[in-house]
Symmetry: C2
């Protein structure tokens, strides 16, 4: 920066943008309709993401994801730089194709002021609209004046939208905390969001579980996901504090029909029978909550209308005893899973997608115990990621699966399945659940006047 | 797997391979010349990596990287699934284009037997030849019998080579440990591999530093990098134990001319004046050790011939005070770096690659203090990565830069530069060095009869 430039830049931040070598001088409107140079325009980056941003900017015609149940045209693996529409009936990041990388954060709400909480959720919504479209937070590249902290932290400047999705959830502590009804929300806690029972074998670290709010950031570029969580945390300074966070380096479940099934760190294909984004009926039956859901016994009695088109998330940090597993014979590994390692075919079958014969597997086989046919057909949409967080101090890799599953009612899905697994799964010798959290995932943000949590808090 | 198949598979593991939908029935030889179905052939995956594997298999004509100083034809960002040749005068992973992701591991050698150490390095070399070419470890997909643990852990089956490079280094503890000359190597410790002095501000965690051996695994797919470290650790069971490891989710330095300069987590472009893989003269002058190097004062007096064509690596885990930085004004951020945030231009300049006028920067500016012109022109090849490892227990993201720099002599490069930075860098208010290690990087593995460390240990 030339010394002589500083005054000008103080009065007209857009001068900075002129430095781009290939700047599109057309003002690009962001998803919120605010005219602003995009972070890519600033740096002379063009391409699909920018074109999409410009298309979405044509007045009020903000791209909507329709009912959000089907796969959208963008967001395929073939176009991993593109933007996934933020607005829709359901939040993106559930029934949209799984991206390669994850940064997940759980927050404690530190303010007790309901109006501050509402403002935070509105601020987060506006920031999420911009970031998922590939823009920086705020107006311009950084926003504000040189004398002020930038509105955006900058490390995603020049990067593509990378299919970023941001998905917000509400933990039990938002409804009541330490017996206190801070925000007048206690009566709205859904019965479908129970506290989880203690399962046999659980070794839960409170510092890796719980949380009043969560944000799941998924993207094909991890820097884009990390940037999003960091900027939301920054916007929430003084109102929320990060309680725990988890980086996932590789997806373990695909929701895209025909895509190669990813492998978990035990080397097995994971998520073969996962709900695909095209299975609209299954999504309606097993994933999306309706206005009629939410009654009955449980930790809460609310839910119902405010959760219509939402879902429920269970997050579990599952540590894998990698070194022990790696000294187990191939035969035993395959017996434990109930599938063969190479192809992923169930016992007695030739191909991965052949319907399993559960009775041909050992009674303790993981696939047999977890299969919908063992649970009255109930299914979950899994969106887990592998993690590696250094070593455990004993020369072993601290690695495993960060399990994420979306469902219509936790009482009907995760709890019975995990009861069965915790009791009998042969895999338990090699895994340990060390973190746990549950969240109610509110419906999608419909348009630029809507905000995360409006149906609960307005 | 059909029950009836089990006997056959026990006697002829290749039957498994028949399940592939698109199997190339030509036996593919791996880089080590052993006939074996590749992991991609097994799963019906073809493409560039396989073709390269087949080409490399034509008898003794294993692809060599020439002198390794120039950019090789493979390994460009445009072809991120391809294989980077493993054999060469220099190890790959230094002057080859920087990949997107990192898994770095430091090991303690737990055996005191020199022959076991030599065998480990030979086993690692053979495994690295296979993995960098996109094959599984061992013969076949898993190798061995169903009654035995698989030779490969399997989670990279079906994935492309992803430009995987594996780079091995020898820490001070390999030469002497607790005053003991375990392997008869004490006299070979290079003078260019000193113990680092304690720098002002260092807050080093011994659990995140040191190590007798290191492996730097870089790849465009993190699952491929994690798989490689995990399999080397598994092969080393009983001889080495992982001391610490670090995942890097995003590169912060490019070594490819004309590529977009990545941004660090402070939002600034990092590595603008890094040594590019095409700068053969600079590599020879500042990165590659020669047979004449290694004498003089320091912690060692060896080096010399065994280190010819090798290099020296300094690894530092640098924690960033993200939240404090994000509340700092844009002007102050730019003053601290000495570059503007958007373009990355030095103070008083218009473009990122304009030659900086150091005197126009504050005396405490990071770029001014670190610039080669402030250090008699000495340069390092930086290959650092951003990391995020959850939270620090105080609601702050545990994030930063895992700094990796290759140099011809640590006494002439890292130490004087870091002395200057530790004393005066304005950035010190926002960073802390929390992990540290140094390694001698031996020369490359020349061919399939060569092995990592031969020049030192044979």
């Amino acid at each position: 920066m030339a010394p002589g430039e500083s005054t000008e830049r103080g009065t007209d931040r857009d001068n900075t943008a002129e430095r781009g070598t290939d700047r599109d001088d057309t003002a690009v409107r962001d998803a919120a309709g605010t005219p602003a140079p995009s972070r890519r325009a600033l740096l002379g980056w063009g391409g699909a993401g920018l074109a999409l941003g410009a298309a979405a900017a044509g007045g009020a015609a903000v791209a909507l994801r329709g009912d959000g149940g089907g796969g959208d045209a963008t967001g395929t693996a073939a176009d991993s730089g593109a933007a996934v529409p933020f607005h829709g009936r359901h939040q993106a990041g559930i029934a949209t194709p799984v991206q390669d990388r994850l940064h997940f954060a759980a927050f404690d709400v530190t303010t007790g002021d309901r109006a501050e909480l509402v403002q935070l959720l509105k601020d987060w919504t506006r920031a999420a609209e911009r970031m998922t479209a590939g823009h920086a937070v705020g107006d311009g590249a950084y926003g504000g004046l040189p004398e002020a902290p930038p509105d955006d932290t900058g490390e995603a400047l020049g990067l593509k939208p990378s299919r970023l999705t941001l998905t917000v959830g509400f933990g039990p502590g938002l409804f009541t905390k330490d017996g206190e009804d801070r925000f007048g929300l206690a009566r709205h806690r859904p019965a479908a969001l129970p506290d989880l029972p203690r399962f046999p074998g659980d070794n839960l670290d409170p510092a890796r579980g719980g949380g009043d709010l969560c944000v799941q950031a998924c993207a094909d570029d991890p820097q884009v996901a990390v940037h999003a969580i960091r900027n939301l945390a920054r916007i929430g300074f003084g109102k929320v504090a990060v309680r725990w966070s988890q980086l996932g380096f590789g997806k373990t479940s695909s929701t895209t029909p025909g895509a190669q099934t990813p492998r978990n760190l035990f080397g097995f294909k994971d998520g073969t029978s996962n709900i695909a984004v095209t299975e609209t009926d299954a999504l309606d039956r097993y994933v999306w909550a309706t206005a009629k859901d939410g009654s009955g016994s449980g930790s809460g009695t609310g839910g119902g209308e405010w959760m219509a088109d939402g879902s429920y998330l269970v997050a579990r940090r599952i540590s894998m005893r990698i070194e022990s597993w790696d000294r187990t014979s191939l035969q035993e590994q395959e017996d434990i899973f109930g599938r063969d390692k190479g192809e992923g075919a169930a016992v007695g079958k030739a191909h991965e997608h052949d319907k399993p014969n559960l009775k041909a597997m050992l009674p303790t086989a993981h696939v047999r115990l977890a299969h919908p046919d063992s649970h009255h057909g109930v299914r979950m949409l899994r969106r887990g990621y592998s993690f590696t967080d250094g070593t455990d101090g004993l020369g072993r890799l601290d690695a495993g699966l960060f399990f994420l599953a979306y469902q219509r009612d936790i009482r009907d899905a995760f709890i019975p399945v995990q009861r069965s697994l915790a009791r009998s799964d042969a895999l338990n010798e090699y895994i340990q659940h060390v973190g746990s959290a549950v969240f109610a995932i509110p419906p999608g943000v419909r348009d630029k006047d809507d905000w995360w949590g409006r149906t609960l808090l307005s």
